[in-house]
Symmetry: none
Subunit: 401 residues, 2 copies
């Protein structure tokens, strides 16, 4: 935490404003030898102008060769070391479905699974049952009563669900019941440290009752639990960086990660127009806004190069509306790369541009991976972007005399 | 300290020589859109030749977005992690006025201030009294007697002075008396740890006597103290890097920081000619010389783009004299950027060139920020320069078999 502490010590008051505009999974790859990436292929006159006036570079989430999930990708963009500040699986699952985790909640990720007559797991995903079936089973499990705690069982997708126990003294340290492979039974839930004993007792009781109720419900006749976690108590973004901060995002996961670090959040409709209209409404009340576009990542995961490029072009058309609000610093980037060529998140560094009047110029006139290689910001770590943004916003004083 | 220890382990004897030539605050910014920086604007045929034959890059002091003071800027150039090796404020103040701190000294930065009849601070800087008045008040305070310790009170500039207590058992951990704002009285000096109790008792006595003597001396009728610190006990530069080392600098601050890490120092006159003449005299006796030019930084802080460029041009004309002494490795750089456009130190990476016969060539033919972006040394940390210099000087052996 030395770095966050240093930043906090160097803060100096200012009325400047910072916009972090994230196109999820922005970084890409060519689909033909010698061809452009999605971003290079997209016609982005407004982003190109920002790249030309400002500076560009590439940032590396987590570390070279590491492919980040959405959680660590954003945690890095928010200035936190994604290895030090890890979000538990249970908490991530809660963020993803917009479950409002409280300080007394212990959350886990659940899978419905299939076991044979001897209790051995034959399918860890219960044949990926339809989400509707998952919903029915969650309704059933939700009627289980545990002494002294409130129980939440929320469907996620297919075989996946969220389990939350709410009550006093539910500590982390509950081991997974999921053995991670078929052929053996679900593991007995046990405590990894003494403080977790209370939670372990309740989870065991929940599993025992769930086993009875699911028996005969082929293929989802049992469940597996993993990643028991509580809301982390991390330094809060608004305090560390001295910024009244808001997240504007269409998906609960991204509002959730922002909320985890203490940002306010604003829900919005499904279209880009909804997104930017919401942004315009909240902007006057904040020093920092994180605006999140999901569709770039989705197109990448679908392997749809053209659609990803088209989403980038659509986003580009909103840039003049962003600039009309006169932010002092804008960063445009992704939380990781999602090349359509790979149909998944990847480890490739992520192109970014930082626009502010105090940028040292670089020769780059266009926004895209190959041009970012020539940029003044070089190849940096994701968590370097926030200190850079603060510096350009005149919000950091000198270190040492 | 892992890095310094590693370097020390890899040292191998050699008779090669290294010159670190620092133009303070060298890095800059354009003052017109699309225009050159100070260094790019300067006509520097000799530095360009070194850049062309050697390699160039940019180094980042402290970390991205962090603006370093002179202390951390130089500590980084000397190969030390500037966050780990922080110089206390009191010690920096002593270095700045050339006070020769000893191992039993506890130093603090002092401000004369103004308090009202109830003791509340109304001006933390006593209206920035003239330095001459500060000198008189220091003469007065110097007559205070404290049992068992020697007392030094040295004027710095305007309302600022240096306080040094010299004696046995004066440990760090004395809290500031400066509350950092007006409207409340000076804080009672207290110990942050038990070992500091002895020093706290003496400082309290000093403050009480000073309060009596300053009473009625409007506007400087009281004082504030902060940053109590002793000389740090860091690994010494000549041992870590295996170099008989000397600092040639016009200002006490820079000789002081060099002395802090164990370098010898050479005073010199005010002109560049004095500086380089002194350098030529001491060079035969050392393996490493740090030569410091201050005027680039001053011009930057004055917002004088033209003067900063002119100082760089003047320095360039001495390069043939430096080369005539046949150093094996030369580094030319700054300790940080001081763009005239910002009239202050800044966080922007600092251009550097490293000349030695073993440089891998890069395509760069000129010395300047935009060309350094294309250099073989890339964007590195300030503390990477010393290991690079040692390697090019043939002073580091292989790591591992």
């Amino acid at each position: 935490m030395a770095d966050l502490e240093l930043i906090r010590e160097l803060l100096t008051p200012a009325s400047t404003k910072i916009l972090l505009f994230v196109l999820d999974g922005l970084g890409g790859l060519p689909v033909t030898a010698g061809g452009p990436t999605e971003l290079e292929a997209a016609d982005t006159p407004n982003l190109d102008r920002l790249a030309s006036e400002g500076m560009v570079g590439l940032h590396q989430p987590v570390g070279p060769g590491i492919t980040p999930g959405s959680g660590p990708g954003h945690i890095g963009l928010f200035g936190y070391d994604a290895i030090r500040y890890q979000i538990g699986r249970g908490v991530l699952e809660a963020l993803g479905v917009g479950f409002d985790l409280g300080p007394n909640d212990l959350a886990a990720r659940g899978n419905f699974c299939t076991v044979d007559a001897t209790g051995k797991i034959t399918d860890r995903r219960a044949g990926r049952i339809p989400t509707e079936r998952c919903r029915q089973l969650c309704d059933e499990l939700r009627t289980i009563e545990l002494p002294g705690v409130e129980l939440f069982v929320e469907p996620v997708r297919e075989h996946r669900f969220l389990l939350v126990l709410r009550g006093e003294g539910l500590e982390e340290g509950v081991a997974d019941s999921d053995p991670g492979h078929v052929g053996s039974p679900a593991l007995d839930v046990r405590a990894e440290r003494p403080a977790a004993e209370k939670a372990v007792g309740l989870v065991r009781r929940f599993v025992a009752e769930a086993r009875e109720r699911l028996a005969g419900h082929e293929p989802a006749n049992m469940l597996l639990l993993r990643g028991f976690a509580r809301l982390p108590t991390w330094p809060k973004f608004p305090e560390v960086f001295g910024l009244r901060s808001v997240a504007v995002a269409q998906y609960p996961m991204y509002r959730g990660v922002a909320k985890l670090v203490g940002m306010d959040t604003a829900e919005t409709g499904a279209s880009l127009d909804d997104l930017f209209t919401t942004f315009e409404q909240v902007w006057p009340h904040y020093d920092f806004a994180f605006v999140h576009v999901k569709e770039t990542d989705k197109a990448g995961e679908d392997g749809d190069f053209e659609r990803k490029a088209r989403v980038i072009e659509e986003a580009d058309r909103y840039v003049p509306r962003l600039m009309a609000l006169k932010p002092d610093v804008i960063i445009v980037t992704g939380d990781h790369s999602t090349p359509a060529a790979l149909r998944s998140h990847s480890w490739h560094p992520v192109p970014f541009l930082l626009w502010s009047p105090s940028c040292r110029p670089d020769p780059v006139k266009q926004f895209g991976e190959k041009w970012c290689l020539q940029g003044a910001a070089g190849l940096c770590r994701s968590e370097d972007l926030m200190p850079l943004a603060l510096a350009h916003a005149g919000r950091l004083t000198k270190f040492g005399a």
